[in-house]
Amino acid sequence: MPACSSGIVRSNKKVGPDLWEMEFTALALAREAQPGQFVHIRVGGNQDPLLRRPLSIYDVDAGLITLLYKVVGRGTEILSLYSSDQPLDVMGPLGKGFSLVQDRRVLLVGGGVGIAPLLFLGRELKVRNNKVIVLHGAGSKEETCSGPKFTGLGMEYRIATMDGSLGFKGLVTDLMEREIDPKSIDYIYTCGPEPMMEAVAAFAARNNMPGELSLEEYMACGVGACLGCARKLKASDPSYVKICHDGPVFPLDSVNIAP
């Protein structure tokens, strides 16, 4: 059962340009977390910024939860100032995570910091005897700190950088189209900028491949109480899903990203 806990920060370090990795302990949270779920963090203790900030669970290992986050505004900036042993006001685990396939050939496609939920996912997929290929799109080499973590867990990790400083030069979806033989993949998971996920969804649809993606919306409550994080998965849908409660993970084919 998710809860509001006082985690304890174990480390918080810069791992790339504006990119930070935080480790904290929160036992119940670590025990229950599923890949694709998120935590909801109160940064600072003042009235501004007021609302919690949602962050995906990047990894869970032996009671230690890891986050990978990009400093994009005040909330994440304050988070980057946390130091070891400081308490962390964290709710979670929240949302519906990825379904975990077994004995398959799986492709993970992550864009930017959207790589975050895919590490924990990959870890659990490896446990379930899947063959896992990870494609990661980043701006440049400096943003690819997660690479060794994926390979360390026995996944194949390929990188596309916009500036060509590492791996394929260009979009990760171009790398995908070029190097991935659809027949070699049974299932796709993706998280990242929406145009990227749209290209992944199109690739999956073309090749009749099932899969899942993870969406974002502004959030207030994080638990389905405020109806704030509403979104129509397809323009034709009669009603709105709540990203925090019905997602953030949805089947690839349930979503029509282009507005």
Binding site: C4, Q47, D48, L50, Y218, A220, C226, L227, Y240
Partner: protein, 305 residues
């Protein structure tokens, strides 16, 4: 408990303690069940309900502002029948004091929803949302015109013996005249305040942030306005007040009580700290003990001159 009497009778609504959770911020109770013992909450005011189901406004629906947030949910709800059949029973099983929050397009619709609720058991009081600034047909016009306020309250009172608690909009020139109109219509208590109407701009896209353009401002930012309006109404209108707007700790709750609120409601604060209602209840109890006061009532209006 025991040493101090925390219970409150809010115009006929019996609450075990003065801390309610505000409509639209606590879903239907179950969403926060693993964060707080909802049976310990003074009253759970459920999400605003309309006669027919509503799918709500297009996103973005919420946005953070300095010490506050904007929301334009647009009264998304399953309609009164589905609420009573499917959502209410689970909440009733918990033994929680449940307050319905209703909104209508017309006086008749308010009356009709009330009749439906009155024929059903499990609801302890009706909060009238005459102030939701989000839905063009759903409130604004009622809450800002004293004559309409009176009409709606009168119509609703005729349909039920439950306590009727109009929720006042702060987006008015003269809150006292609105409160008096509600009283004259037969209101049993007043709930105040709802959100201030506001907006935000996405300067990168050069558009309003919210799909609905305007939204309701809530949270600590509006606390000074809420306190002022409650103070004004407490002095002039002899009805118990359910006060809220930006409460985020026990000291805030005490401010509201001291300007005249008999009970308080927590809205945005739930998002920040899901167990806030419980923490404030405990904080108030501790305060009463420290001050040697026997009941919360002794503090109501203490700062009103």
């Amino acid at each position: 408990m025991g040493l101090v009497d925390m219970s409150v009778n809010l115009g006929g609504l019996q609450m075990q303690n003065p801390v309610a959770v505000a409509s639209g911020t606590f879903g239907y109770g179950r969403e926060y069940q693993s964060y707080i013992d909802i049976r310990k909450i003074g009253a759970v005011i459920v999400k605003g309900t309309t006669l027919e189901p509503r799918c709500g406004n297009s996103p973005p629906r919420i946005y953070e502002t300095p010490a506050g947030m904007l929301n334009a949910i647009g009264l998304e709800n399953p309609g009164i029948e589905v609420f009573l059949q499917e959502y209410l029973p689970a909440l009733m099983e918990e033994g929680v004091t449940i307050v319905a929050n209703i909104a209508g397009n017309s006086v008749d619709e308010y009356a009709l929803i009330t009749r439906i609720i009155d024929n059903h058991s499990g609801i302890a009081a009706i909060e009238l949302n005459i102030s939701c600034p989000n839905v063009k047909q759903g409130g604004m016009q009622f809450g800002t015109d004293p004559r309409l306020v009176r009409q709606v309250v009168e119509a609703v009172k005729q349909e039920t013996r439950l306590p009727v608690i109009p929720k006042l909009s702060p987006n008015v020139t003269d809150i006292v005249s609105i409160a008096k109109a509600a009283r004259d219509g037969g209101a049993d208590a007043l709930s105040m305040i709802n959100t201030l109407m506001g907006m935000a701009v996405d300067i990168d896209r050069k558009t309003p942030v919210l799909g609905n353009v305007f939204g309701g401002l809530s949270g600590p930012a509006i606390k000074p306005v809420a306190l002022r309006m409650i103070y004004q109404v407490y002095k002039e209108v002899n009805l118990p007040i359910l006060g809220g707007g930006g409460i985020s700790n026990t000291r805030d709750a005490l401010e509201f009580i001291m300007v005249g609120a008999s009970a308080i409601s927590i809205g945005t604060g739930n998002f920040v700290n899901p167990s806030l209602a419980q923490e404030i209840t405990q904080g108030l109890e501790k305060y009463l003990l420290e001050q040697g006061l026997a009941q919360i009532h002794d503090l109501v209006g203490a700062a009103v001159q």
